[in-house]
Subunit: 638 residues, 2 copies
Amino acid sequence: MSPKTNRKMSPVSLAQVVIDDGFWSPRIETNRIKTIPHEYKQCKDTGRIDAFDLTWQSGEEPVPHYFWDSDVAKWIEAASYSLATHPDPELDALLDEVIEKIAGAQQPDGYLNVYFTVVEPDKRWKNLGMWHELYCAGHLIEAAVAHYEVTGKRRLLDVMCRYADYIASVFGPNPDQRCGAPGHEEIELALVLLYRATGNRRYLELSKFFIDQRGQKPSVFQRELEHLSDEDARINRHFFDKKEGFDTSYCQDHLPVREQSEVVGHAVRAMYLYSGMADVAVETGDEELLRACRRLWDNVCRKRMYVTGGIGPSRHNEGFTKDYDLPNETAYAETCAAIGLIFWNQRMLHVDAEARYADIIEKALYNGALSGVSLDGEKFFYVNPLASSGDHHRQEWFGCACCPPNIARLIASLGGYIYSENSADAYIHLYISGQGELEVAGTQLIISQESRYPWDGEIEIKVDPAKAAEFGLNLRLPGWCRQARLWVNGEEMEIPPLLRSGYARILRRWQAGDVVKLDLAMPVERVVAHPNVSQAAGCVALSRGPIVFCLEEADNPVPLHRIVLPRDAELTAVYDKELLGGVVKIQGEALLVDDSDWDGELYRFQAANMRPYSLTAVPYYAWDHRKPGEMRVWIRSL
Amino acid sequence: MSPKTNRKMSPVSLAQVVIDDGFWSPRIETNRIKTIPHEYKQCKDTGRIDAFDLTWQSGEEPVPHYFWDSDVAKWIEAASYSLATHPDPELDALLDEVIEKIAGAQQPDGYLNVYFTVVEPDKRWKNLGMWHELYCAGHLIEAAVAHYEVTGKRRLLDVMCRYADYIASVFGPNPDQRCGAPGHEEIELALVLLYRATGNRRYLELSKFFIDQRGQKPSVFQRELEHLSDEDARINRHFFDKKEGFDTSYCQDHLPVREQSEVVGHAVRAMYLYSGMADVAVETGDEELLRACRRLWDNVCRKRMYVTGGIGPSRHNEGFTKDYDLPNETAYAETCAAIGLIFWNQRMLHVDAEARYADIIEKALYNGALSGVSLDGEKFFYVNPLASSGDHHRQEWFGCACCPPNIARLIASLGGYIYSENSADAYIHLYISGQGELEVAGTQLIISQESRYPWDGEIEIKVDPAKAAEFGLNLRLPGWCRQARLWVNGEEMEIPPLLRSGYARILRRWQAGDVVKLDLAMPVERVVAHPNVSQAAGCVALSRGPIVFCLEEADNPVPLHRIVLPRDAELTAVYDKELLGGVVKIQGEALLVDDSDWDGELYRFQAANMRPYSLTAVPYYAWDHRKPGEMRVWIRSL
């Protein structure tokens, strides 16, 4: 349905992919049987779902919050994706029930928002900057599209089309319409999905309208602020007011988006905006938007991203600060921001067909996003620091609960990130065992993968076209891989001549039964940060394949800053099936700064001694599952 | 006048000491002709002085603040000390004028506090925990004693005796008296000064009463809080309320002082309390209080003090956190806290006659306290971080202006820190050129010092007793000194047999014209912090003699965290008379982490290269006098 003219390939959708993977299948199962029911229960128990009944009365507790709708929406989306790969009549019925409640909350004019219907109905559209009205609409639209695409049911889609039609009547360039933009971006990308699902170009145009409103002078948010009471404006002032002038970089409103080159402000907002920009560009051929996306990508991925794929170091604005500022213990690195980074890179990957985007997807997926959910699927990090003194732990839920359903919808939709296709090429971006059904060069094609990834780099790929055909099979050579080998039907291929934008492109006439073997060397690596990152100066992070490791006190019962890793120390990777659900751990002979000869002094002139110390590092995503204690990604290095 | 039974020696007072020193004389002169007039003008311009006229009317701006009185008091104290060594009829007259204003503000019952007389008279003594009423009284008492001792004028002394008498009638153990203690300690030490100046034991007893009220259960502050309105209690709750129970560690009220072993809470409060405890112990022979002081000293000096002598790392409570927690860029290290550390150590020094206390005085004096005032004497640091990204600068004044007059009174009274005496011994604690008049072994004694300290460790000391006498001359061997030589009348002495508690004690029959030469080797040293100090891990600080150095961007126009100092790099000290008023700077061949071969990556596997780099370090106390830029005390080390 979607036009493909402005991107080099299309993702192979979730429904076409089966995951049968040692690493991911248990997580997807946990997501299905633990996380999704747990989140439903939380939404139910906290009143988020029943709030759509619109029975709330003034004075009742809890008061619905203006972002509640979005939590339910993301849960619907996660549950729908789960149905796509695992039919479940009970969940299907539950979805219908929740959707009926939502449908019942729609107002005669199409409007649909609990808070601004029952709590402060006079404030509809009054503070787009901070009140998340369009953000909630966006998530409900995403939910509607997901539910429709998975189940074929139009109930929520029709409701949301009515709401989107109403929004499109309120906002727009015509004299009888309002200027405006969402303070928290989200609806931009959702409207493009709705356009793709319905073919109604009005949604695409509204998305583009919102995107181009951003950064105009005077700011739409500044104009809005002038009509707010002091009380209502307080929340805005916290972020927008600066001593000199009005600074809306918090929500990327400091410049027209086409002129932006620097990622600023709230990180999740930024990621959703850039995703929407890429979507609009793909559908409209808007090269200017893509150029802005590529500049912004350079900035975030080359100067403002943690080694875990986490982004947004500051708690203050839940977002970005300045180049190379990546504090560890105070890192905010919201789970949603890492997920947003994946969304955006998934879009850029299809625009440019360059493996660097898939590298970022993989980095965030296996590290800074996956850390957001506990191994048992029922506890969540909102904030993902790279060091902890032992007092940061996952929680069952949050008052502001954006992250739990976000990680649930990501894991439930993982199948959609593995393969892509165009008329002449098949792509494998992620090495996850299972299979995908593609259509390439006029033939149905089944690609099957088998590996112990991410613990091992040996991957067997079976290529089964329905009929023999010539096409390129593009295998991503991960950015972390320094040595790869490749065999086709047992015959080794030289890789350099095959390289294209980070993929090994094997162009041949494929036929049923062809087998490709890829061996990605996966030694333990010492990662070094750019010299400008002061917070990682003198340190290395350990990685192996896509996995970033950390030290935890549970394995290393010493002050972690006293562990020093010599440059030539041998590091070995050991799979431990008992540990943290089965992980590779890294062990090595390091040094420990010794305090046994310090006789009560706080300072002295003699350098401290070191003694041998055997360190153990575990995957970062799995930290905080044992006795609380220190954690640290960056290890002092000699 | 003061009994000396419970301390091993007495300080030689300011009036008996002449400073004629290359380092300090210009600072004392700047303090006299710039700082003291500047602070008078600030107190005048901001309304602090005229507030004592009690003409303030509701609605007028500015509203006197409940700590204003203390700023004027500390100015009086500084100005009085200045008169002691530099007669100045104009300043003398100005002091009389200000003192008359203060006297005029005294109420019929003796009470004296601007805020609680004109702004909220109904709130007298209502919130001792947070409203600084007794703190202001303490500073006015200190001012009164200083003015009386320097000028012999009793005007302010009499006023403050009346006030103290009134306070002693309100607070005390009798059934018609109130329990209570100052939330901000200060009056405890002041009352002992008043006792020493007047001989009235009631003041000593009141000080002891306040000290022992602290830490009782239920807390006096908790009981007080129960009678406050919600509005008035808000400021307390910020510090006292914890989820579980009432935590008054903010003002050292968590335990009876005699049971305390850990320095907690607001650092200035803590230092003033411990000073008062030592004073009371000295006057009453209370060994239990001294044992607590020694335990607290161990904790702060061995676990909670910056290498600069700064204390109190946290902005939140302006105070202490936990052992070995010494962050650099966010260090609070209030100027007043370093000064308070000097006050307390001055007291402990006289109790125990151990050089370790003088080491701390010297460390704080030349570094973390002196940094509090600009070279021109008219700008001040409240906060003294050990690293800066370039946005922390001295200011002309503060709304809460405790630090400027505190550093002024310290510098004006420096002469009082150099020498001590008892019946059998003379002590030199600080090597500051000039002379002191002592009385030892029944004779008047003039000790003259001549050196280029702190830039050079060669010190010539002339010993001139009025009549020949046998006594011990005790020369402090600084803790930082690893090699000292000593000559008496040209004959070298072996030092180890002379050592007593960190002093070289030369016991002989001294006669006029005796000359001692002390040579303290002063190489550049690399200071290493205890392995538990994570924020200094892998780093060294440079010191030479008592001076701690720092890197500034003005000398090192590179990101300072990229400078790495190899362990064997030679470091040379060079006196530069043009630099920062004349300082020794340190130069050395270090390394700079190179980014020229980083091709836009944020992370890579190959270690960064280093290239040779010539670093220059300057004394920490003199930082922030040139073009704003980065500063850093702890230098990465290999």
